[in-house]
Amino acid sequence: MKISRLRVDQFRRFRQPFELRDFDPGLNLFAGPNEAGKSTLVAALRAAFFERHRSGTVEHLRPWGDASAAPEVELDFELDGTPCRLSKRFLGKKRCTLQFGTRTLDGTEAEDFIAEQLGFAFAAKGSSKAEHWGIPGLLWMEQGSAQDIRAAVTHATDHLRTALNASLGEIAGGDGDDVTNEVERLRNELLTPSSDRPRGAYAEALQAEQSLREALAKVDDDLLAFRQKVDRLAQLRREHDADAAQRPWEDLRARAAAAATALREAQSLQERLLVEKRSAHSLAERADLLRQQLDRWAAEASDAQSRAEAVTTAQRALDDALALAAPWQQRERDAQTQHDAARRTLALARARDNRRALVRDLDELRHKGETLAATLAQAEAEQARQLALQAEVAALEIRAGDLNALRDQARQLRELDIRRTAIATRLRFALEAGRELRIGDAVLSGDGERLLLDATTLTLPGYGRLRIEPGGGDLAALAREAAELQDRHASALARLGLASLDAAEARQQQHAHKLSDLKAAQATLKALAPQGVDALRAEGAALAGRAAELRQRLTAQAEEGDDALPPVAEAEAAEDTARRALAEATRRLADARNGCTAAQAALDAAQRELIAARARLDDPARAQQLADTRIALTDALAQQEAAALRIDELARQLDAARPQALAQDVERYTRSAEQIERSFAQRRDALTVLEVELQAAGAQGLDERRAALARDHAAAERRAGQLARRAGALDLLLRKLRDKRHALTQRLQAPLQAHLNHYLGLLFPGARITLDDSLSPGPLTRDSAGGSESGEVDALSFGAREQMGVIARLAYADLLKEAGKPTLLILDDALVHSDDARLERMKRVLFDAAQRHQVLLFTCHPDKWRDMGVPVRTLEAAL
C-alpha cells in the first residue's frame, strides 16, 4: 500500500482545505513544530480507515469551536497495484466512497472492503479502540507508544494468522486449537492441570473404590470374627455337654464329706484333751489350797507364843511412862507459884505509875487555870473600853445625808455670793490720807474697793451721806434667795447642834477617829477571847472542874513503898518468863500423861489377843481338821498323776489325726467342687451370650452384605480403571497435540524470526531474540565480554524498548509484505528517547525498511533527520 495524496478539509487544525501531494513510495519525512498539525494528519489517516463515516462519536474531528463543520478526508493510494481513492465525510452530509480501480464502493461496503484488505475491524458501537485496529494498529505507531508491542501484537494476532497462513500454507489450519482446547478441558476434568493428580469424577471414583474396599475389608473382618465365634460356640457346647454328663463336682463333694467326718473325730479328741487339761489344773489348785491350810494351822501355834511376849513388852512400856510423868507434876506446881508472884509485882508497878501521871496532870491544870484567869481579866477590861468607845462613836456620828445637805447648801450660798458679787456695784475709792468714809459701821480709808450688794448708804464724814442703790431686781432676788438658803443652812446646823459647816466637818473627822479606835479595841478583844468572853469564863470553869476531879482521884489511892518496886517493863518481862515456864511444864506433864494412857491401851490389847490365841489353840475340833486336811492332800496328788498320763495319751492320738490337714482337705475339695460348678455355670452363661450374639450377627446377613459390597466394589474398580485409562489417554493426547502445535508454531515463527534478526543485527550486533507462541518478542540474549546475558524486553530501558518495538513492527511488515499483504508504516514522533549513536543505527534500520515499505515519519526535530536522503517537508509552510 502506497499513499500518494492526502487531503483534509474542516478537520481539526485545518479549517480550510489542506493537501499533501507527491508522497514518496519509500520514506516520507514530515516536520513541524508542536501544534503545526502533524497529529491532525495522523488522526485524519486513522479516522479515514478506522472510523465508520456514520459514527456519531467523532466530534473531536471538528475544528475547535466550529459545531457545524463536516470533517472530510480524501486519500489517493494504490493497493496491490490498483489505484484507489477513499473519500470520507463525517458528521455533516456523511459520506464514504472508495474508488478501487474501476470499481466504486459506497458506505459501509467500502469500509468493510478496506478493513478486510488491511486487516482490522470496526467498533460495533462508539469510537474505534486499540483492540479493533489489527494490523494497522501494529504498524502505525502513535506518539509515545512504539515500545508497547505486546498489546498491539495481541490485537493483531488473528489478522496476522489469517494473513500469514496464505504464505505458510494451511499447516495451522483446521480446528486443531479447538480440539486441543477440548482435549485439555476433558483432561483437566480428570486430572489437575499442574500436578496430574486425579480430580473430579476420577478422584470420586478412586475414593468410592477405596471406601468400598475398606468397607469390604471391614465386613471380611466381621465375617472372620463371626466364624471364629461359631467355632468357639461349638467348642463351648462340647465342653458343656461333657461336664453335664460327667458331673465332676459330685466326686469332689464326696471327698470333702469324708474329710469332714475325719475332721469331726479329730475335733472330739481335741475337746477331750481340753477337758482333761482343765481337770488336771483344778486338781493342782486343790492341792495348793490344802497345803496352804496346813501352813496356816502351824502358824497359829507360833502366834500364841508371840502374843504372850507382846503383853510383857507392853507392861514394861507402861511402867516407863508412869515413871516419866511423876517429876513433871512437881515442876508444874513450882512454875505456877513463880508465875503468880510475877503477876502481883507487875500490878503494883503499874499502879504506882498511874499515880505519878495524875500528879503531873493536876499541876498542868492549875497552871492553865491561872493563865486563863489573867486573860479573862484583860478581856473584860477591853470589853469595857469597847463599850465606852461605842458610846462615843454613836454620839459623834453625823448622818451622811445631813452632811451632804450642809455641804450643798454651803456651796449654793457661795455660788449665790459670787453671782451677787458679779452683778454688785463695784465701789472703788481712793481717799486721801486722813480722810475717811463710812458705810454703815465700816470705816473705809485709803484706797480700796467695795462691792455694794444692796442699797447702801455711804457716809462721807464731813460731807454727808451717799445712798447707793445697785440697779436691777435680780440682786434683790438673789439676796432673798441667799437669805432663805442661809436660814435653811442655819436651821440645819442648829438641828445638828453645830455652829458651822466647818464644825460639822470637824465632828465628822472626830467620829472617824473614834470608829477606828473602836475597831482596834474589838480586834484586841477578839485576840484575847476568840470565842467570846463568856467562852473564856466557861473554859475556866471546866478547868476548875477537872482539877477538882483529879485531886479527888489522887486522894482516893493510898500510896506505899513505891520506890522499892521495879519498873513496869522489867516486871512485865519477869511475868512473861514465868508464864512460859509454866506453859512448858504443863505441856510436858500432859505428854507424859498421854504416854501412860497409850501404854496402858497397848497392854490391854496385847492381853486380849493373848487370850484369843490361847482360846483357838485350845479348840478341841482343831486336831481332827488337821488330820482330814492331810489325807485330802495325799488324794489330790494321786489324782493329778493319773490325769497327766491321760493327757499324754490324748495328745499323742491327736498328733496322729492331723486335724489341720483335714480341715484344709475339706476346704480344698469344697472349693474345687464350687469352682468347677461355677465354671460350668459361667460356660453356660457364655454360651447364652454367644448364641444371642451370633443370632444378632447372623440376622445382619453378613455374607449377603459382603457379596453386595464385593459386587459394588468390582463395579467401582471397573469405573476407576476406565477413568484411569481415559485420563491417561487424554493426557497423552493433550501432550501429543501440544507438541505438534508447538512444532507448527515454530515453523510459523521462523520467517518472522529471520526478519527480526535482520533488524536486530543492525541495532544490537550479536544479539538474538526468541518469539513466543503469540508471536511477541520474548527474551533478548546479547553476547558481551563477560559471556551472554539474557533478559526480557520489558526489563530494558525505555529507549531500548522503543527501538525494539519499532524493529519488531518492521519485521512484521516484512512478513506481511512477503505474504502479499499491504503494508504502511507510520511513526509519529518516534525514537525521541534514543541517544545519538542508537538513533544513527535506527536511521539505518528505517532506511533499509523504506526500501520495501512506504514509511511516513512525523517529527518536530527536522534537523535530526536530514541525513535520510529524502527532503524534509515542513507542515508550517503548508498551513
Binding site: 494451511e170 499447516i171 495451522a172 489450519g173 483446521g174 480446528d175 486443531g176 479447538d178 480440539v179 477440548e182 482435549v183 476433558l186 465375617l223 463371626f226 465365634k229 461359631v230 467355632d231 460356640l233 461349638a234 457346647r237 448364641e691 451370633l694 443370632q695 450377627a697 447372623g698 440376622a699 445382619q700 446377613g701 453378613l702 455374607d703 449377603e704 452384605r705 459382603r706 457379596a707 453386595a708 464385593a710 459386587r711 459394588d712 466394589h713 468390582a714 463395579a715 485409562r725 481415559r726 491417561g728 489417554a729 487424554l730 497423552l732 493426547l733 501429543k736 497435540l737 505438534k740 502445535r741 512444532a743 507448527l744
Partner: protein
C-alpha cells in the same frame, strides 16, 4: 412306585459382582424364581418327595428377608421336601439353618436333615439317609454310615449327599467332602441324590448330580436342570429324566477381528441376542475406526435387548484407513497426531495410545457431525 424330584445347589443369596447393579439384582432374583418353578414342577409332576442335595444357601450370613423368601418360594409344593446342608451352608453350631428355625421360616413339610440320621417317610415306604455337612470342609466320607444303616426290609433306601465323587471329576481327586464312587451300590441304595457339581451329571445307574436349577456362571456345564426320578419298586433301577428349569442362558463367546467380515459376524451374533441371554464376549484383533464404531453400536444395542452383555473393546487395535482420515478431515497438526498415535499402539504403552486415538477420532467425529448439521 416312588417319584422323586432331585435338585441341588440353589445358592440362594448369590450376588454377581461382574455385572451392573440392576442386572446383578435380576440374576440374583432369578434364583428364587427358579425354586418357585421347581415347586410348581413337583406339583405338576405329582412327585412323592423333593430331594435338595445341599448348598441351598450361598453362604451362612444371608439376610433374614432372603431366608424367609426362599421358604416362601417353596410353598408351591405341599408334599415333603428333604434337604441337607452343603459346604456353603454347613450345619454349624450357629448357621443359616438354626436361624431359619428360629425365624419359624421352615414349613412343616420341609425336613431339614442336619444330623446323619435316617428319616422315615412311612406313607411313602421310604427311608432317606442324609449325609449333611456339619463343618465347612471335611475330609471324611460322610456317606460311610449309609451301608450300616438299618431300614425296613421292603422300604426304598434313598441317599442324599453333597460333595465330590472320588475319581469322577478332575478336581475331585483330593478335594474336600469326598464321596465314594460306588456308594449307591455299596450301601444298597435305590437312589443317591448328589449336590455340589453345578452341571447335570450321571455318576452311575443309581447316582446323579442334578446340577443347579438356574445357571450361575459362564462355564458351559449343562446346568439349569432338575431330575425326575422314578423307581418302580425297592431295588428296581430308577428312571431318571432331566428337566430344563433355568431361565437365563449364560454364554461365553470369543471373537478375533481380522477382516471386515469378522465385524459383520460379530454384529450378527450381537444382533441375535434375546432377552434371556447373558453373554460374555471376548474381543481382540484389529479393525478400522468404522468397524470399531459399528461394534460399539452393536454392543450398545445388545445391552438394551439381552439381560446382560459383558464386553470390552480395549484389546482391539485401531487401524484407521485413508477413508477414516478423510472423513475426519484431520487437518494441520491433528493429522500428525493421529499418525503418531496409530504408530504408538505397538509401543510400550500401546493401550493408552489406542485409547487416545479412539478419543481423538470420537472428538473429530462429533465435530464433523456438528458441522454437517
Amino acid at each position: 412306585m416312588l417319584r422323586l424330584l432331585h435338585t441341588a445347589d440353589w445358592q440362594i443369596g448369590r450376588q454377581y459382582g461382574q455385572f451392573d447393579a440392576d442386572e446383578a439384582a435380576l440374576l440374583a432374583e432369578a434364583r428364587i424364581t427358579a425354586v418357585e418353578r421347581l415347586a410348581a414342577l413337583a406339583t405338576e409332576q405329582r412327585v412323592d418327595l423333593v430331594l435338595v442335595a445341599g448348598d441351598v444357601f450361598d453362604a451362612q450370613g444371608i439376610a433374614d428377608k432372603t431366608v424367609l423368601r426362599l421358604f416362601n418360594a417353596m410353598r408351591g409344593y405341599a408334599g415333603p421336601w428333604a434337604m441337607i446342608p452343603g459346604n456353603h451352608d454347613a450345619a454349624l453350631s450357629e448357621s443359616v439353618w438354626t436361624r431359619a428355625q428360629r425365624l419359624n421360616a421352615v414349613p412343616d413339610n420341609v425336613h431339614l436333615c442336619l444330623r446323619p440320621e435316617p428319616l422315615q417317610f412311612d406313607g411313602l415306604n421310604a427311608v432317606v439317609l442324609p449325609a449333611p455337612l456339619t463343618q465347612r470342609h471335611t475330609y471324611n466320607d460322610l456317606t460311610d454310615w449309609f451301608a450300616a444303616a438299618e431300614t425296613p426290609a421292603a422300604a426304598f433306601r434313598i441317599g442324599i449327599a453333597h460333595g465330590a465323587v472320588q475319581g469322577l471329576l478332575a478336581e475331585g481327586i483330593d478335594s474336600a467332602n469326598p464321596i465314594a464312587a460306588d456308594r449307591a451300590v455299596q450301601a444298597r441304595l435305590d437312589y443317591l441324590a448328589l449336590g455340589d457339581w453345578h452341571g447335570c451329571r450321571q455318576v452311575d445307574a443309581r447316582c446323579w448330580y442334578s446340577g443347579t436349577p438356574e445357571t450361575d456362571r459362564f462355564r458351559n456345564n449343562d446346568s439349569g436342570r432338575a431330575l425326575i426320578v422314578d423307581i418302580d419298586a425297592p431295588g428296581a433301577v430308577p428312571r431318571v429324566t432331566p428337566v430344563d428349569t433355568g431361565h437365563y442362558r449364560w454364554r461365553s463367546e470369543t471373537a478375533t477381528l481380522q477382516v471386515a467380515s469378522d465385524v459383520d459376524a460379530l454384529c450378527a451374533l450381537l444382533g441375535a441376542l434375546a432377552a434371556d441371554d447373558v453373554l460374555q464376549l471376548d474381543i481382540d484383533g484389529r479393525t478400522d475406526l468404522d468397524g470399531l464404531k459399528r461394534i460399539g453400536d452393536a454392543i450398545t444395542q445388545a445391552r438394551g435387548r439381552a439381560r446382560a452383555v459383558l464386553a470390552e473393546l480395549d484389546r482391539v487395535r485401531i487401524e484407521p484407513t485413508a477413508d477414516d482420515l478423510e472423513r475426519l478431515a484431520a487437518e494441520g497438526y491433528l493429522g500428525e497426531v493421529i499418525a503418531d498415535l496409530r504408530a504408538a499402539q505397538d509401543g510400550a504403552d500401546g493401550d493408552t495410545a489406542r485409547d487416545a486415538l479412539v478419543l481423538l477420532a470420537g472428538l473429530l467425529d462429533t465435530r464433523r457431525a456438528g458441522v454437517a448439521r
